[in-house]
Point group: C2
Amino acid sequence: MKDAAQKSLSNSQRALQELRRMIFAGELAGGTDHLESELADRLGMSRTPIREAALTLENQGLLELRPRKGVRILPVSPSDMREIYEVLTALESQAAEQAAQRGYSEADLSELAAAIEDMDRAVADQDLEAWAEADNRFHAELVRLGDNNRVASIFNMMNDQVRRARMTTLYIRPVPTKSNADHRAVYEAIRQGDAETARRRHREHRQHAKEILIELLEKHRLNRL
Amino acid sequence: MKDAAQKSLSNSQRALQELRRMIFAGELAGGTDHLESELADRLGMSRTPIREAALTLENQGLLELRPRKGVRILPVSPSDMREIYEVLTALESQAAEQAAQRGYSEADLSELAAAIEDMDRAVADQDLEAWAEADNRFHAELVRLGDNNRVASIFNMMNDQVRRARMTTLYIRPVPTKSNADHRAVYEAIRQGDAETARRRHREHRQHAKEILIELLEKHRLNRL
DNA sequence: GCATTCATTAATGCATACGCAAATAAATGC
DNA sequence: GCATTTATTTGCGTATGCATTAATGAATGC
């Protein structure tokens, strides 16, 4: 057996990751309804694991279980975007502060630095996909350095909720040149153990991102992603 | 029918609220394991609604589903306490800032003021239960004024997770006299629309509370509540 | 023509059943 | 007596069936 990684996933788990994938891929678009039995057929399993997965996804804010109407894929409105970015702002800047206080070595921060480098390169190459990927990596790594599992898990939830919105705005938003100056400033503050600055700069960074995105959504009338 | 409030709760919902109650009441103590079938018998229903409720409670961080071992009620360690209070600190001070920016009238803030009054009275009366209740009310109201559903829902989750710990520490902690000065300062800042001060003061308040509580837990060797 | 009631349909909530795999106990070999 | 294998138990994952109840459409009265 060349494939060492045994793929013994339970049907519930498969349902969970499949539904997630379908939601992110837009196969299940925001605002649409889908019957449990239909999804069960689609994934070739019974309603039971589908229901369990749906329950979890409901708790994670990706969909809603409405009796008799099926599961409703939750669309994201500008107001949701505001809420989500406020949460991300608060938690990530908390993480930045913690990271700075922890006194990480330069080696510990190499992943962060690499993400910044990649973003620079991506901007130079005009490769927005690569930029988005590196940007995510930066934020995720920052959260990881913050060393708080609950913060990390909420961060992931919020990111999942805005994933579709980010994808659609990626190509209509201004080129993220200013962003990288922010990232560098945060990185520098963490490296120097300046917790207050790290927090403040990251806060400003996210707040700015929030404003840009919400303006963009409203300008383009993207009220339900 | 004199009882107007129809109690047509589904079994899942009953399971959910019953399990929650049992966890908070200590009937299901932190760290203990319980089989699905046992809980089903106990609540007089089949495993299906129990599993659904357990799934939800797992997502909310109150328990863990471990195959063959049953559901494990998650104990809270000092490290968990640190994580939770960091989240609460970040989100509540965000709420305080938002509340200040929203420019609420004095009337809008009456609930907040009332909670502060009640805390004063409770401290004077040496009524710790009443103080804890009013303190909760203050924080919950602050979050409500922050006007962010996601923040509110995470706030509730985190509060649930520390509920048992708070109850046990309530009678061994120092009398919360300083607390109220903080609350007043936050209230004042919000009333005056001073967002920066509101945020900073609330941050300090929560950070202080975190330190007190963690010290207390460690001093008394309360490692698994 | 419109509203109201009734019948029908259909999706869910939940109980139940069962196969599988993990944990435990028993049995066998050394 | 100890280790290793085999048998047994047991709890879970999941499929299935059914009663309940909301939603839809038909029928009736005004």
